[in-house]
Every structure is written in structure tokens, then in C-alpha cells.
């Protein structure tokens, strides 16, 4: 079994109002010097295969087809 992590983040230049709100809240808690906060998503997947190359190809397809909206988001795949 392969354990993988997919991280989905907003592309540069796409406004992230949630990140902005978190940035403001961190400032209100007294954390100074925060340049920018960008919010993203993390997916942990367990895949029933021993073939990492196939798993990676499948994960890429999953990102393209569902996990990320490539109009506004980038994704990266890593293995545990």
C-alpha cells in the first residue's frame, strides 16, 4: 500500500479572501511580521498498489479531474 499526500494551493495572482481573513486574525493575536497567508487543502490517500509510478500517474489524473480546479489551483503530490 502506498500513502500519498496531495497538496492543493491557489495559483499566484488568484485572490484568496480566506487567507486574507486568517492573516488579519493572526495579526489580531499579536503575531507580527506576517507577509502573507494563503490557504490550501491537503488530501491524504492510501492506494492499494505497490507500483509507485502507476500510483503517481493515477494521482495526477485524480488532481486534474477532481481534487484541484486547475483554473485557479495548483497541486503537488508527495509520498510518505
Amino acid at each position: 500500500m502506498i500513502k500519498a499526500r496531495v497538496t492543493v494551493t491557489l495559483k499566484n495572482g488568484v485572490l484568496d479572501p480566506q487567507g486574507k481573513a486568517i492573516e488579519g486574525a493572526l495579526g489580531a493575536l499579536g503575531f507580527d511580521g506576517i507577509g502573507q497567508v494563503r490557504q490550501g487543502k491537503v488530501f491524504d490517500l492510501q492506494i492499494e498498489t505497490g507500483d509507485q509510478a502507476k500510483a503517481e500517474a493515477d494521482l495526477k489524473a485524480m488532481c486534474e479531474k477532481l481534487l484541484a480546479n486547475t483554473v485557479i489551483e495548483n497541486y503537488s503530490i508527495s509520498f510518505a
Binding site: 495572482g13 485572490l15 479572501p17 480566506q18 481573513a21 477532481l66 480546479n69 483554473v71 485557479i72
Partner: protein
């Protein structure tokens, strides 16, 4: 508008269908609007259906399909019925997506761009003003170009985004059908975009709810023209 289409409109009542998915909650309003305006109740279509009835207009109503999980409209856009709708759209059947329906259409790739969280981070439920940017479409011929109409909105993720190149191309192609007018942009949408259509002009998505302003009991009937146009109830 071709002569053939005009003649069809005069000779028979246009048929419509309303898509139903778990979590959509504006389907009843949409069914009522279509029934009142066309005089014929729409067929309802469930998400698992792969063959659609022979209709002139398919409407995806608003709501919160699949609880807005992952991204608004993302899960619904991958349901079997969407493949069937895509095929119908390619054949030229008119498709209208309102609110969550709009989000589903962009997630399914039938319309350009994306709908993001409102810039205010707040759910907005109020009335806005819309400018009819393009009145030369199957959905807006009842209006005049530049006409300002009233419409309710109710959404959390209506902040339209498209990259610079896409924005330029949809503007150039006349694909921006509605803009929020007179400073009423409720969600931070780029270029005040409230509704866009595909390049072919038969698929329209919009965040506002025209189905909720179609008769005196609603306080106005500004939204009626969209359905009257699409169902060719008025002279084309």
C-alpha cells in the same frame, strides 16, 4: 436567430427539464417558474440518468449540491447526468445554470472561469441590479442591451474569476451576458461579472436567481424575460 428556430417556437410549446441532485434546494422554485412561463411543467431529471429526454432547455437550479464539499459544484459536475448534459449542449440544446447550477457548469468545464468564495467572506442574500450586457442571446432577447433589471442573489461563492487571457476572450466574444450594475456587485466578481455563456451561446450560467422575480407576488417580474427568451414564449 434562424427562421427554422422561430417557426419551431411558434408551432409548439418548448419543452424543458430541471436537473435534481442531492442538496439542490431551488428546484421547486425553478419548476414553478418554468411551468408558469411556458404553460408546461418541466421534466425532472435525477443525477444518475445518462439519457436525457428530448427537450429544448435544460436547467440546473441552485442550492448546495453535495453540501458544497470539496468546491461548490465540484462533485455534482462529475455525476453521470453531467456527461449527458455535456452531450446535449454540444448538440445545441440550451442549458441554463443558476447559482449552484452556474458553479456546476464551470466545474464541469461547460463554461469558462471559476467561482470563488465571496470577497466579503459572507453569504449574501439580497437584491442586486443587473446590466444586460448582451441582449442578442437565446436567453436575453426579451431585454434591451444595457437594460438594468432587478434580481435576487443568495450565495457564498459567487466571486467570478478568470485569468487575464480568458477574460479578454469572453469579453471580446460577447460571452459576458450580465454584469452587476450601479455598484451592487455583492461578491467581488471580476469585472462585475454576474452571468457568462459559452462561445456557442447555448449555455448560460448566472449567480442571480431570476426564477424568484417572475410575478407580482414576488414584487416584480424582471427575471421573467430570461425564461421567456429561452423558451421562445416571446416573439424571437
Amino acid at each position: 436567430m434562424s427562421f427554422k428556430r422561430r417557426r419551431q417556437g411558434l408551432n409548439r410549446t418548448m419543452k424543458s427539464a430541471v436537473v435534481q441532485l442531492p442538496g439542490l434546494n431551488r428546484d421547486r422554485d425553478m419548476i414553478a417558474a418554468l411551468t408558469k412561463i411556458s404553460g408546461k411543467a418541466p421534466v425532472t431529471v435525477w443525477q444518475t440518468e445518462t439519457e436525457l429526454p428530448d427537450v429544448d432547455l435544460i436547467v440546473i437550479p441552485g442550492g448546495f449540491s453535495y453540501g458544497d464539499y470539496l468546491r461548490c459544484g465540484a462533485i455534482a459536475a462529475r455525476m453521470p447526468v453531467m456527461q449527458a448534459i455535456k452531450a446535449k449542449a454540444e448538440q445545441g440544446v440550451k442549458v441554463l445554470g443558476v447559482c449552484n447550477g452556474f458553479q456546476i457548469l464551470v466545474e464541469a468545464g461547460l463554461l469558462p472561469g471559476a467561482l470563488m468564495r465571496n470577497a466579503s467572506l459572507k453569504f449574501v442574500c439580497r437584491e442586486v441590479k443587473l446590466e444586460v450586457v448582451n441582449a442578442d442571446t437565446d436567453f436575453t432577447r426579451a431585454y434591451a442591451k444595457g437594460q438594468i433589471i432587478r434580481s435576487p442573489v443568495a450565495h457564498h461563492d459567487g466571486n467570478y474569476f478568470a485569468d487575464a487571457e480568458t477574460l479578454k476572450s469572453i469579453e471580446g466574444n460577447g460571452q459576458i451576458v450580465f454584469r452587476y450594475a450601479e455598484g451592487t456587485n455583492p461578491n467581488g466578481s471580476m469585472s462585475d461579472i454576474a452571468g457568462v455563456m459559452n462561445k456557442a451561446g447555448n449555455v448560460l450560467g448566472m449567480m442571480p436567481h431570476p426564477e424568484n422575480l417572475i410575478e407580482a407576488a414576488h414584487g416584480g417580474s424582471d427575471g421573467r424575460g430570461i425564461f421567456a427568451s429561452a423558451l421562445e414564449v416571446i416573439a424571437a
